[in-house]
C-alpha cells in the first residue's frame, strides 16, 4: 500500500496543481506538501520493507537497491522544493527588471510537472517488471520536457525539442531491447518480471540476450548520458532553470542507471565479459568526451552538465570493476555525485539569477559581490572533482585500485584534466579581474538569500565524506 502511496500522492498533488492555477502561494505550499508526503512515505516504506506481498507486488515493490535510490531521490526532491519556494519569486522579480524578459512557464504547469516527475521517477525505482520499467522511464522524459521550457525562449525550445526527440528515440531502442529480452526468454515462455527473468537466467537464449543488451545499453544509456549518446544532456541541463537541472542531474540520471543495473543483474554468467567490455568502452569514452569539453568550456552550466557525463562514465566503470563490494561502492559514488551536483546546479541557478549570463569569460571577481554563493560554488566544485573531504574522493580512490593498471592510469589522467578545467573556470569566475557583466545589486541581494539549501546539502556531503574517510583509514 505504501508503494502505491509514494507514487499516487505526488500524482494527486500534480492534479491538484491544475485546480489551484493562479494562486501562487498555495501552489508553492502544494509543492512542499507533495514532497514532504513523498518523503514520509519513503521513510515508512524503508521501515516496513520486510513485510512482503501486498496488492500488485509482482509489479511494484521495493527492494534493497530501490530503497536507497528512493530515499536519495525523495530527500533531494524535498531540498529542491524548499529551494524552489524561495527561488521562484526571486526569479520572477529578476525577470521583471530585465530589458528583454523571457516569458515564464505558468506556475501551476511548473509545479504540476515537477510533482508528476517525482511520481514517474518513483515508479522507475519501484517497478518489478522490465516492461513497466520502460513505461516509467519514458514517462519521466515526457513530464520533465515542459520543465526545460521554463524560460520560454528560442534556446530552451531547442533544448526541449532535442531532449524529447533524442531521448524518445533512445528509449524507443530500449523498448526494442526489452522485446528482444522477451524473445530470449520465449523458450520457457518467461514473462518480463525481474524475478521471472532472473529465475530463467540459465535458459535464456544467449544470442538474443546479447542483442537485447546492446539495445538496452544504447537506449537507457542515452537517457543516462553516456557518450556517444549524451548529446541532449548539455543542452537540456544548461537551458533548464537551476532547480530543474539539479533534479535532472541529481535524480533522473540515477533512474536510468538503475534501469541498466537491473538488466546487468539478470545477465547470464557466460555473457558477463561481453557486457563488461561494452560498459567499459562507453564509460571510458564518456570520461574522455567530458574531459575534452570541460577544458574548453565557456558556459558554466554546460560545464556542470559535462561533469555529469563524466560521473556517469565512472558509474559504468563501477558497474564492471566494482568487485565484491562493487555494488556498494558504485551506489556510494552515485549518492555523493547526486548531492554535490545538485548543490552545484542550485548555486549555478543563483549565479545566473544575479548575473543573467552563463558565460565564464564575461564573469569575474564575483567573490566581492556574491560572497556566499561564490565560496559555496568553489567548495562544491572542488568536492565534485574529488578533493579529500568529498565522498567522491574515497570512492574514486578505491576504484583506481580495482581497475587494471592501464585503465587506472587513463582514468586518473582524465580525472586530473577535468579537475584542472573546472577549478580554472571556477577560480576565474570568483577571483579573477572584474568581468564585463556586473551583477545588479537588487538581483545580487535576492540571489545571496538563496544560500541555505545548497549549504545544507554541501555540509551533508562533507559529513558523509569524513565518515567514509575515517572508515577507510
Amino acid at each position: 500500500m505504501i508503494s502505491l502511496w509514494v507514487i499516487g500522492w505526488p500524482l494527486v498533488c500534480a492534479g491538484a496543481a491544475w485546480l489551484l492555477r493562479g494562486r501562487t502561494g498555495w501552489l508553492r505550499l502544494l509543492l512542499l506538501c507533495g514532497a514532504a508526503g513523498h518523503t514520509a512515505g519513503a521513510v515508512a516504506l524503508c521501515a516496513t520493507m520486510k513485510t512482503p506481498g501486498g496488492f500488485g507486488a509482482d509489479w511494484i515493490a521495493p527492494d534493497r537497491l530501490s530503497i536507497i535510490f528512493l530515499m536519495l531521490t525523495s530527500l533531494l526532491f524535498l531540498a529542491v522544493s524548499v529551494h524552489t519556494m524561495f527561488w521562484l519569486p526571486a526569479e520572477k522579480n529578476a525577470q521583471e527588471t530585465r530589458e528583454r524578459p523571457d516569458g515564464l512557464l505558468a506556475d501551476h504547469v511548473f509545479v504540476s510537472c515537477l510533482l508528476a516527475f517525482l511520481a514517474t521517477m518513483t515508479l522507475v525505482m519501484l517497478a518489478r517488471n522490465f516492461g513497466l520499467l520502460w513505461v516509467a522511464v519514458e514517462a519521466t522524459t515526457l513530464v520533465s520536457a515542459p520543465l526545460i521550457l521554463f524560460h520560454r525562449s528560442a534556446r530552451s525550445l531547442e533544448a526541449m525539442w532535442k531532449y524529447l526527440l533524442i531521448c524518445s528515440v533512445g528509449i524507443g531502442l530500449a523498448l526494442f531491447g526489452t522485446m528482444l529480452l522477451a524473445v530470449a526468454g520465449q523458450g520457457g515462455h518467461t514473462g518480463l518480471g525481474f524475478s521471472d527473468v532472473a529465475a530463467a537466467r540459465g535458459t535464456l537464449n544467449p544470442a538474443w540476450f546479447k542483442a537485447a543488451f546492446i539495445f538496452i545499453l544504447a537506449g537507457y544509456g542515452t537517457k543516462m548520458g553516456l557518450a556517444p549518446f549524451h548529446t541532449w544532456l548539455p543542452d537540456a541541463h544548461s537551458e533548464a532553470p537551476g532547480a530543474v537541472s539539479a533534479l535532472l542531474s541529481g535524480t533522473l540520471l540515477n533512474c536510468s542507471f538503475l534501469a541498466i543495473l537491473r538488466f546487468v543483474d539478470v545477465m547470464p554468467e557466460p555473457l558477463r565479459p561481453f557486457g563488461a567490455h561494452l560498459l567499459t568502452a562507453l564509460g571510458l569514452l564518456s570520461l574522455a568526451v567530458a574531459a575534452f569539453f570541460i577544458v574548453r568550456q565557456s558556459d558554466f552550466k554546460r560545464m556542470l552538465a559535462y561533469s555529469s557525463v563524466e560521473h556517469m562514465g565512472l558509474l559504468a566503470l563501477f558497474c564492471v570493476y566494482g568487485g565484491a563490494n562493487g555494488g556498494l561502492l558504485g551506489v556510494l559514488h552515485l549518492c555523493g555525485h547526486s548531492v554535490i551536483k545538485m548543490t552545484l546546479f542550485l548555486i549555478a541557478g543563483n549565479l545566473l539569477l544575479a548575473c543573467g549570463t552563463r558565460q565564464i569569460p564575461l564573469l569575474g571577481g564575483l567573490a566581492k559581490r556574491l560572497p556566499r554563493n561564490s565560496w559555496l560554488w568553489l567548495a562544491a566544485i572542488l568536492m565534485i572533482c574529488g578533493l579529500p573531504p568529498s565522498p567522491l574522493f574515497v570512492t574514486e580512490f578505491l576504484l583506481l585500485f580495482l581497475l587494471p593498471p592501464w585503465l587506472a592510469a587513463t582514468v586518473l589522467v582524465l580525472l586530473f584534466t577535468v579537475f584542472a578545467g573546472m577549478t580554472l573556470a571556477a577560480l576565474r569566475m570568483i577571483m579573477g579581474a572584474d568581468g564585463s557583466v556586473v551583477p545588479e545589486p537588487e538581483a545580487a541581494r535576492s540571489s545571496e538569500r538563496l544560500w541555505v539549501v545548497p549549504l545544507i546539502l554541501l555540509c551533508g556531503a562533507v559529513a558523509a565524506g569524513i565518515v567514509l574517510l575515517l572508515a577507510l583509514v
Binding site: 522524459t141 520536457a145 528560442a154 554546460r302 569569460p361
Partner: protein, 225 residues
C-alpha cells in the same frame, strides 16, 4: 501462419515506402494513420480463431490501439500542422527519389539479415521481423533526413510502429498493463511534440528543426549575448 496477417504486413511495408517518397505532410499523416489501423487489426488477424476465441484483453488492446494510433494521433498531428501552417516539406536534406531508394535498400537488407540469422519465431508471420525492421529504419531515416519538426514527430511515430509490429509479430506477451502503458506514453509524447511544434513555429516563425542550432559548444566570443 495465416495469410491475412501476411497481407496486413505487406500493406504495412508498402506504407513505409510510400511515406519515404511523400512530400505533402497530409499524405504522411494519412499514411501514419493507415499504419495505426493495420497495427490495431494485426493481433486479431494473428489469432488462431478456429482453436479458441480471444479474451477480452485482446479486443481491448486492439480497440485502444486503433483509436489512439489510427484516429487520435493523426487527428492531433493534423491539427498541429494546421496551427503551424506548414503543408509540405520543401527542402528535405535527402531528396524523395533517393529516400525511396534508401528505404528500399534497407528493406532488402532487413530481409537478408532475417533470412540469414533465422530471426523469427515458429508460427510467426514471415514478414513480421523484416517489416518491423524496415519501419524502424524508415522512422529513424525520416527523423534524420527531414527538416521540419512535425515531420520528425511523424518519423518517431513510424519508428515506434515498427517496434510494436515486432512485438506483436513475434507473439510476445508482456501483459495488458504494459501494452496500455506503452500506448499512453506514445500518445502523450506525440501530444507534447505537437505543442512543441506549435511553439517552435511561433517562436522561430518556421518549424525547420535544422535551424535549431543555437546550442553548441564552440560558440565564438563575439556571439556571446
Amino acid at each position: 501462419m495465416n495469410s491475412l496477417s501476411e497481407v496486413l504486413l505487406a500493406l504495412f511495408l508498402l506504407t513505409d515506402f510510400w511515406m519515404a517518397g511523400a512530400s505533402r505532410l497530409m499524405h504522411c499523416i494519412r499514411l501514419a494513420s493507415y499504419q495505426g489501423i493495420i497495427i490495431g487489426l494485426f493481433p486479431l488477424a494473428m489469432w488462431h480463431w478456429h482453436d479458441s476465441t480471444p479474451g477480452v484483453g485482446v479486443f481491448v488492446i486492439a480497440a485502444v490501439t486503433l483509436g489512439v494510433k489510427g484516429v487520435l494521433l493523426p487527428w492531433f498531428l493534423r491539427r498541429a500542422m494546421f496551427r503551424a501552417s506548414v503543408r509540405r516539406e520543401l527542402e528535405p536534406l535527402v531528396g524523395y527519389p533517393s529516400s525511396l531508394l534508401i528505404v528500399l535498400a534497407a528493406a532488402a537488407g532487413a530481409f537478408y539479415v532475417c533470412e540469414k540469422f533465422g530471426i523469427g519465431s515458429p508460427g510467426a508471420p514471415m514478414l513480421a521481423a523484416p517489416g518491423a525492421f524496415t519501419a524502424m529504419f524508415t522512422g529513424l531515416f525520416i527523423i534524420m533526413a527531414r527538416r521540419k519538426a512535425i515531420t520528425q514527430a511523424i518519423g518517431f511515430l513510424v519508428f515506434e510502429n515498427g517496434i510494436t509490429v515486432f512485438g506483436i509479430g513475434m507473439m510476445l506477451e508482456y501483459g495488458m498493463l504494459v501494452e496500455l502503458g506503452i500506448l499512453l506514453d506514445v500518445f502523450v509524447l506525440i501530444f507534447v511534440m505537437g505543442i512543441a511544434v506549435f511553439h517552435i513555429s511561433r517562436e522561430l516563425s518556421h518549424i525547420d528543426a535544422d535551424r535549431l542550432h543555437l546550442l553548441r559548444d564552440d560558440r565564438k566570443k563575439e556571439e556571446l549575448v
